[in-house]
Subunit: 307 residues, 2 copies
């Protein structure tokens, strides 16, 4: 089954306690696509880049199953650029530069060749932009998931509430769930969000794992304890890509299968953070992924007899 | 099999975002004993209290399987008293008052009636005090576990290192593991600690769960996502009590059984935080505990086919 991923393709410059990069390729859609392509093909991208986005990266994405009909190339503008510096705990960072460039006028167009896709992932974009994508779909996808951020809660809350009504799954981090609901307790925040539209909610907690809520059910997946988190950039997008990739591969949107999808997403994210940018995601193969899924089983599964 | 718990029995006055208590019963050994007594009897306490510690609490502990031969009652001094205020996130707190009182001269004596115990839990005390307990044991217990805190790392590091060589399991929180080793990565910190004496290490992360390390094995148990953490005081000690109680009940110190013990400890801790002090621990029964163990299974267990 096919999967559409809408989001940024961009450049990042990153500083962590372990090192520093010049401009390297990044962007939510890039990370999500590299992760998802391990599980489903095609991965249909909707994005926008400038004249400076590397042709080799486009070719690489294509060779792995990425479909690029929906990626607009603006010939006289630069690609979105973000630069940031991580603190020692890697859970917080300072943004040094945000150059929107092409992203400022992003009006995503869903190509005809993408119509009929059963899975749609809306990356973090203006809510009105996310809504415009949903409206372009001639057949409603089986599952629409979205990401968002605190910025949109501050400047476009009404639009955000409108999109929330149209999606099946929201993926946010703990601070965003708290801000959206005004509830400090994540369990209470989840209950509130599940009345706002989405039937499924994932709350990402970085190195502390992720929670999946659906009705009265809750599932928790830890992050893999790693010796070193080298660069957390893109981990959340990689998680989303692995999650959606597994769902699209299996076509099964039951709660039990979403549990598996969250573990798959966590496994992909655990690779992402091992090197700068999406580098590590391009190195791993099916055996690597399977080995890490086994590690997750050993990490959390237990048997207990109630006597 | 019997279990010895060495630690404080005390009074606390607690302030949380949800309310405030006057002096109520607390202390590491008290919490641990209430938790452990659900799984093993007797729970042999070694502690010290003043004239003011309530006789009814002693009677309550005894009625639940606590053995008090090792609890010294000092007729002319007051019990240890701690007062603190939690911040909104409940992961940090300010200490308002610490009155050591009887605890200042605590020289634990292991009664003859406790000799032969197979499980020994050394609560957070001066390392020299912990060591004196180990030396009093005529037969070495099958498993010796200990807690400690940053304070001892600062003023008694050599003593602490000496005790570490004598124990099988260390239980600390994430900040303490980092301070003890100078390693920010918990995985690296764990590797270092496992060369210092203990063959097993538990790193407690409060609301973010707990990690168990042994050789190259690692197991993670989340905290149960709760609508409200009413009062986190004693949660760590309750966790330790449930953990040791399960081990003592089963007599099995394999890694697989320690996984179960960590889940049991987490289940007990999840009850502890629902009300002030050890109140909730006195209300629950076997069915309540089993129900929560089931919740943990649903929370983390998953099945995945590698295809």
């Amino acid at each position: 089954m096919s999967l559409i991923i809408v989001g940024s393709m961009a450049f990042d410059a990153i500083e962590t306690p372990f090192g520093k990069t010049d401009k390297i390729v990044g962007g939510a859609a890039t990370y999500a696509a590299y992760a998802a392509a391990n599980f489903v093909k095609p991965v249909q991208l909707v994005s926008i880049v400038g004249y400076d986005f590397p042709k080799e990266e486009m070719a690489e994405l294509k060779s792995r199953g990425g479909q690029l009909d929906g990626v607009e190339i603006v010939p006289d503008k630069k690609s979105f650029f973000w630069s940031g510096r991580y603190h020692e705990d890697m859970n917080s960072r300072d943004t040094l530069v945000t150059d929107l460039n092409v992203l400022a006028d992003f009006k995503p167009k869903v190509p005809d060749s993408y119509q009929g896709a059963e899975f749609l992932m809306l990356g973090n974009l203006a809510p009105a932009t996310q809504l415009s994508v949903i409206k372009q779909m001639k057949t409603r996808p089986k599952l629409i998931a979205m990401d968002t951020m605190n910025f949109w809660m501050e400047i476009a809350l009404d639009d955000l509430k409108e999109v929330l009504k149209q999606v099946d799954l929201l993926m946010v981090n703990d601070a965003e769930a708290r801000q959206l609901t005004g509830q400090f307790s994540l369990v209470k925040a989840a209950k509130t969000i599940l009345t706002m539209g989405p039937k499924f909610l994932i709350i990402k907690k970085g190195e502390h794992g992720a929670l999946l809520f659906h009705g009265d059910n809750v599932f928790f997946a830890p992050a893999l304890p790693l010796e070193e988190v080298f660069d957390p950039t893109g981990a959340g997008d990689t998680f989303a890509g692995g999650f959606m990739g597994h769902l699209a591969k299996t076509g099964d949107i039951s709660f039990d299968n979403m549990k598996r999808a969250i573990i798959v997403g966590s496994a992909m994210a655990s690779y992402c953070v091992e090197k700068f940018g999406p580098t590590r995601l391009k190195e791993i193969n099916k055996e690597d992924i399977d080995r890490r899924l086994e590690q997750f089983k050993e990490l959390v599964n237990f048997e207990i007899e109630l006597v």
